[in-house]
Symmetry: D2
Subunit: 332 residues, 4 copies
Amino acid sequence: MIIELKSTIAKINAEKLAMDIKAFHISFNDKSYLITGSGVKELPVDLIEVTENYWVFPNDLQLASSKFLKTRREVKIGNVVIGGNTKNTVIIGGPCSVESEEQITTSAKFIKDLGLQVLRGGCYKPRTSPYSFQGLGLDGLKLLAQMREQFGLTVITEARDASHIDEIIEYSDVIQVGAKAMYDQGILRACAKTQKPVLIKRGFGTTLQEFVQAAEFVLAGGNPNVILCERGIRTFETGTRFTLDLCGVAWLKEHTNLPIILDPSHAMGYAYGVPDLARACVAMGIDGLLIEAHPDPSVAKSDASQQLNHTQFESLISSLKPVASSVGYNIL
Amino acid sequence: MIIELKSTIAKINAEKLAMDIKAFHISFNDKSYLITGSGVKELPVDLIEVTENYWVFPNDLQLASSKFLKTRREVKIGNVVIGGNTKNTVIIGGPCSVESEEQITTSAKFIKDLGLQVLRGGCYKPRTSPYSFQGLGLDGLKLLAQMREQFGLTVITEARDASHIDEIIEYSDVIQVGAKAMYDQGILRACAKTQKPVLIKRGFGTTLQEFVQAAEFVLAGGNPNVILCERGIRTFETGTRFTLDLCGVAWLKEHTNLPIILDPSHAMGYAYGVPDLARACVAMGIDGLLIEAHPDPSVAKSDASQQLNHTQFESLISSLKPVASSVGYNIL
Amino acid sequence: MIIELKSTIAKINAEKLAMDIKAFHISFNDKSYLITGSGVKELPVDLIEVTENYWVFPNDLQLASSKFLKTRREVKIGNVVIGGNTKNTVIIGGPCSVESEEQITTSAKFIKDLGLQVLRGGCYKPRTSPYSFQGLGLDGLKLLAQMREQFGLTVITEARDASHIDEIIEYSDVIQVGAKAMYDQGILRACAKTQKPVLIKRGFGTTLQEFVQAAEFVLAGGNPNVILCERGIRTFETGTRFTLDLCGVAWLKEHTNLPIILDPSHAMGYAYGVPDLARACVAMGIDGLLIEAHPDPSVAKSDASQQLNHTQFESLISSLKPVASSVGYNIL
Amino acid sequence: MIIELKSTIAKINAEKLAMDIKAFHISFNDKSYLITGSGVKELPVDLIEVTENYWVFPNDLQLASSKFLKTRREVKIGNVVIGGNTKNTVIIGGPCSVESEEQITTSAKFIKDLGLQVLRGGCYKPRTSPYSFQGLGLDGLKLLAQMREQFGLTVITEARDASHIDEIIEYSDVIQVGAKAMYDQGILRACAKTQKPVLIKRGFGTTLQEFVQAAEFVLAGGNPNVILCERGIRTFETGTRFTLDLCGVAWLKEHTNLPIILDPSHAMGYAYGVPDLARACVAMGIDGLLIEAHPDPSVAKSDASQQLNHTQFESLISSLKPVASSVGYNIL
């Protein structure tokens, strides 16, 4: 249950009330809310007098629910606002991993020259083998910060586990919670304490319900700037790396109030399919797209097969604009 | 292995050669081909003199392979040609089941009035329960034939099992092999003996490789007019009925030479998601779309939740045209 | 709803009543039953006087439900009764395919010498490629009949599609409905009209609910002798051919009244894992086991990797007896 | 590649060699090994003189591979040794969560009285909703330590994320890495630095190959005491909570050298199926079993539906002994 308190209730009293009923307390749009588990179906008698409004839910999809907020939330990524009525589709491009100053500088310049605004690049790679390239770590984060300064780009990178989440929050403009880390409460609770935007990727074995509940950890903890990212689920089909779940995206658009970004690169796993899929994603009317591109994919230290080269990426971006336009959206 | 025989080889001799090496023999584009299993990697010595050209394959995806034919095959559905360089996206609309003369007449008139050309409607329903509506059977087929005559529409309906395949071939312009029937060799072998177009739906538990191999049964049996239809696979996600596999569609476009039609209605299972998904499908550049629509979905005898009403369907078709146009395709 | 009619109601009247309410009518254990869809939750007023007893169900799992019959049904396979309180685990052994008289005779003699009673062998193979060995067809069926006569064995073979179901019913003692054919209503309806036992394999993409509903087609059509066979489902894991669903078996034991046979060979796909899995299956307390064995797996025309050789099979059977005994069952 | 260095090479030199070729260096069974990625297929020339033996692998399953060690590793859990030739099946019992001193004391006493030696109980619960019971945290760990002292039991509890891994390593005898945390390198790297046994649960969306690679992180980091735990994977079947993958267990027995423990409780999700499944697991010949039991499951704060009550648990243990015995194993 979500309880909106009357505006006359002071914040300190709201917090006391929250403690009394073991609820979360958040401030959002200048209002105070208490959030209990969805098992609570009736407004506690003691709270009737202080309650302005309340919502009952069939399950723990509450703050993220379209039953709570009818319009999609706005989230600001650098200078770009997505969600709400903006009809903006923001492109997040860049290499899978930050590999060297030269490689990330080439990438950043390329993104900038295309008129795009958001650069991605992994520093702590959640590899499944200890014998693969594990990322540059803090050195990578510093290179990203340098790109931000040098090119005026917004940067996004991924937290692999809770042991370095503070670094990520410090250096990155948008905190990416990876598909393998999205149940990680050490990360989610830390993300709840910042106001930076948090992009949560759906785990490849994660139901839509669980996925949105990961967002609830951040929202209930006090950070309203959460973005959902579908990036493919694991199915019996192995001809492609994962299976991009666009039915799931339709479900998220219907049942949640959070902006939605799609990642066709990881879903497909092969560069040849990325452009067609990216156009399909954009035609759904979405808030953003995450596409991997590398100056020379053949020498990439991770995900070599799925990264576009810069010619392919540029050509893709050109083709996305009329598709976005055909459904009333703008590519940024 | 596919072996193209020299044009000097008479058909009767080609057939003898096929029998000698236990191969299939087909005529296609005025040429004669022998097709063996993909285990054969070297041209049999005895055939060297009669061979014009040959192709070796890593697996039994052969006649359907883009290694054999570089351009997508053209298939004619009524008056519409799809595939090849046509850039046509044909819309197949209509109710899940033919329920009554009134219902199917209303549907047919509606499709006709929208300027569309292909009407769908199930007569033998592959229900999973014996206690559900099973379809009108032969009476339904006769109603479809009546719609063809009355409105000049092309009709498509589904074969549930081999016991009535001859009826379907007789009455339907396009033979649909349903997701639950696509391994049915009784159906596939019968489809190989006609020249009518055959639309094969991917089973919801079927790999892409197996799916295309079902097409190989029809192609190797002598019918080149095969269309693939992706309609959602079964995954762990149950928030939607199935998971539309657009990564798989990218794979099919890369690895096969067959036209591809998509069915977002069955994948999604809920009307609310169908328009967004249909636009996504069209943006991939595909040969057709299969959308369920019913004059009054609330009283439909099957798939009530996923069928659009006529207002929704008309609005969807309008919105598809600019999307198709943005990727260089035409809605027909 | 299942309605048990009073014993005073003549069969001809029962049939009339069934037609009136569009229900199935069956005779079972000397009683007459009407079966409607599970949507019917209240006894029709007109039937109150003729009704002895009735059962309401939450879904279309009705005749197969443990809510209808508390004890597992008994089914006779040749001379062996399984189910009920028999605590018999019948072993069904033999090659994937009948390949030649010599091969199947060696197999039959081997099964007989081990003291087992049921021989399997495929004649119509549901291969996914037209270029693979498709089975001996009717010649294979005749060889199986010959084995029955020569060795006094019970034989079981599979219907691939409805086009040859009559042959299978004529020649086989137990009709196997394969995993790819279990939605085939042509087969299921034909099986309903015989009284021979029908072993239905679960499709690899089939939910438990759908699986049991396939059995409902046969049961509601008048044949009570149905056996369920779990043989592995398709999951994201490809290290093994399929994933044997023993949680599903626990579900079937709890929710249905049908005997359950398991097929670890097809699930595993590799001979090395079959013995361990077979022992696991037997320890669950099941009605039978289906194990593929071939005189020389290395030359088998289908499923070479998963068939045991005769030494391995004999050793496995020896090891199964103490396991069965430890849970109070007998290997037959 | 794994390289066994000659016994004459001092440890300090071994470490230098490791750094030179960017390999891991571990000591195991009084020998020194260097481990590189599996991409290295030929012994580096510089190392030929110092190499005693080496192994090349097709993929990054190396230290855990049965190609490296032919016999299963021995791991000591409290006073019980599992793996190797011990033929011990250790039972790990106890509640899902530590809820109170009274509850865990009742549980501990019960386990002790049954003659069992290992108590489980979660303190940091990896719940998918922020609104569910999250565990007692450090207070729970202290209660477990108290049970160890009071009853002489070995205790095992789960690390949810890297933020409290040091606490878990301090308090628990066996460190459990949960299904949702098994990609967590913060946890895995910390586990590599202790010598305490580490039980890694397979993620429900994790392939067998990835699962074993998680173990490689711990093994390559220097801790040889790793145990694999299969606990069910997520499939399309939702009649049960997960699908216990015993085909996967057969694969693990064939391809790895690590002890294997199974958890039928989480796989099934319903108490009714746990006993049958537990017997199936034991019949496979495994190293341990993890079963949830609660003094009163109806009031359990997590996983209420799947926990056995104490009567059921006691009865299950009795029934496991003859099954274990039938395959030559002992229940401890």
